[in-house]
């Protein structure tokens, strides 16, 4: 994970776009919190500068 985050930083996309969380299927509330947190983080970071259909 840290390796890929480092790669994303080196490339210039930003390692904060990627995160790993551990939770079980019974943790619905936590899942909602995580989804909200990541959505907020990505909104602040802005869209993927490479856009759609980059082929990767």
């Amino acid at each position: 994970m840290n390796y890929v985050k480092g790669l994303l930083d080196e490339i210039g996309l930003g390692g904060e776009r990627l995160e790993m969380f551990f939770l079980s299927s019974a943790e619905g509330m936590r899942w909602a919190e995580i989804a909200t947190e990541m959505a907020q983080r990505i909104k602040e970071m802005g869209p993927n500068p490479l856009g759609d259909g980059h082929g990767d």
Binding site: L7, E10, I11, G12, L13, P49, L50, H54, G55, D56
Partner: protein
């Protein structure tokens, strides 16, 4: 084995733009790996080719360039016969980024001189994986091996000063003064020879080491006439 590590992505990107591409905004580059030493030190194998090519695609895309990156890996990039497998890809590319060791990069440039092959790795040393994820230098290819007299521990590679007669005054508690993580090679040698029951051999006078076989003085060459196909046939030539 030869141990190498990948150059920083920014450096590889600059080398590609500055050297590899005639048109600064468009191009086609082959990322070429090697299946031998650099695979087992996780620097230049097939997986690393995939990761580097993806990274370069994204990074050059962010820079506003359109560069297509092809991917390939050969079994051993230091031998002409293995590189023939990718020869047909070369006419269509502007340059090759090789993540083989320096020998592979040079072989590619020699074998296919019309295509520039750029290094993607820094080849660092001859070494051993001492634990998962850690490689340490063990040999400097001095050409005149003294391991028989030192209990199998190399004073050329493992002593910071390559001393041949015992430790210097900087050896403290079995540790080299240069770096506290580095054991004193001569302490290791003494301990090993003692464990082997032959410490007295360390007091024997050996002949002066012949350094003419080491890398100072130019590139070295070995010729085995018993193995040559016919005398005078160079690599890649028909006999």
């Amino acid at each position: 084995m030869i141990v190498a590590e990948q150059k920083p992505l920014d450096e590889i990107k600059s080398l590609v733009s500055d050297l590899g591409m005639a048109d600064p905004l468009h191009g086609k580059v082959l990322v070429l790996g090697c299946g031998t030493c650099v695979t087992v030190c996780f620097a230049g194998g097939e997986k690393e080719v995939g990761i580097l090519a993806s990274s370069l695609r994204m990074a050059t895309g962010l820079d506003g360039k359109e560069v297509e990156f092809l991917e390939a890996t050969v079994q051993r990039q230091c031998e002409y016969e293995y590189n023939e497998a990718i020869a047909e890809l070369l006419p269509q590319v502007d340059a090759v980024v090789s993540i083989a060791c320096g020998i592979g990069v040079q072989t590619m440039n020699e074998q296919f001189p019309e295509t520039l092959t750029i290094p993607g790795l820094n080849t660092t040393f001859l070494g051993q994986p001492t634990e998962q994820g850690v490689w340490e230098e063990r040999c400097q290819a001095c050409g005149n091996c003294v391991l028989g007299t030192t209990g199998g521990i190399c004073p050329i590679a493992r002593c910071a000063k390559s001393l041949l007669n015992g430790p210097c005054g900087g050896s403290q508690n079995g540790v080299c003064e240069v770096d506290s993580d580095t054991p004193c090679a001569w302490q290791l040698i003494y301990d090993r020879m003692t464990a082997l029951g032959k410490p007295e051999l360390l007091y024997e006078l050996n002949d002066m080491k012949d350094w003419r076989t080491s890398c100072d003085g130019g590139a070295r060459k070995i010729v085995r006439e018993d193995l040559q196909l016919s005398v005078g046939v160079a690599a890649g030539e028909e006999s």
